[in-house]
Symmetry: C2
């Protein structure tokens, strides 16, 4: 068995934070197209920003989601695979405002990734929802992966786990 | 119960990808300090980059980790909370090379976050490992969160779930 330091027992890779220009568009995309569930919101009106937390949950998890607000917050910060979207007020009204997706200079962050049970069916679903592709499965040499773009242009890799090596 | 589109059943928010300058330093940090387990590597020597996949797993998960390479790949791409590190060959030898952490202009990606069972104990552990803090719990108004930096300067938020609201 691989050893990890006992001091790190219970550590959880909880979330990834992306800034978004227009939370209405981003929440619609992540909820409607990727099936994520809105879990929790934190508002900081004095500092003029809101935080939205979402996760892609199974039906069983959805059934057992705590409704009490404090319990929901604790739940949100205990899970793996949470997406945090930060909205700085007003960006949605600036026509020329855009966030940097990390894949042109200066580079750093690259993408998030969703695994799907069936890549071809997922591609059809994305097409049905007019999702923009950065790379369709048939583009390039790696036919088993796709990249779509979220409303801010962040790249989302799409993989089917049993075709990956 | 909150409804999600049946077309998204089985979708999984699998991983977040960050480019790293020196994989030796990054792997040491994420494995030794944050207790993540190296799951899988993909090498593209012709294109001069490697991909490293890590996750923070429980003891039970570690015991049941598939050892077969193909099964391990499928496992890697089926989990939530995986971190993918991309190493473009040679960056580790360029003294002035640095990736952009997204928190100065141009902004976009902000941070990843680990939840820990006890924030004070985690801070002591990070100090013991000479981790650089972006924000210690006592800095600023939010005393229940900290931000540390990984070897590339990416921000990692540290929270204790039962103190979050």
């Amino acid at each position: 068995m691989i050893m990890t330091a006992p001091q790190t027992n219970g550590y959880t890779f909880n979330h990834t934070m992306l800034r978004v220009k227009d939370p209405k568009q981003s929440l619609a995309f992540y909820q409607d197209v990727l099936g994520m569930t809105f879990l929790h919101k934190k508002s900081y009106p004095d500092a003029e920003f809101d935080l939205y937390f979402l996760a892609k949950l199974s039906d069983d998890e959805l059934k057992n989601l705590p409704s009490d607000e404090q319990k929901r917050a604790e739940y949100t910060f205990s899970q793996r695979g949470v997406l945090e979207l930060t909205h700085n007020y007003g960006t949605e009204n600036q026509a020329d405002f855009a966030y940097h997706n990390g894949n042109s200079e200066p580079r750093g962050f690259g993408h998030i990734c969703f695994a799907v049970p069936d890549l071809a069916k997922a591609v059809a679903w994305f097409d049905q929802n007019n999702v923009v592709f950065q790379k369709r499965p048939e583009d390039g040499s790696m036919k088993n992966i796709a990249f779509i773009k979220d409303p801010d242009g962040y790249w989302i890799e799409i993989v089917q786990a049993n075709t990956m090596n």
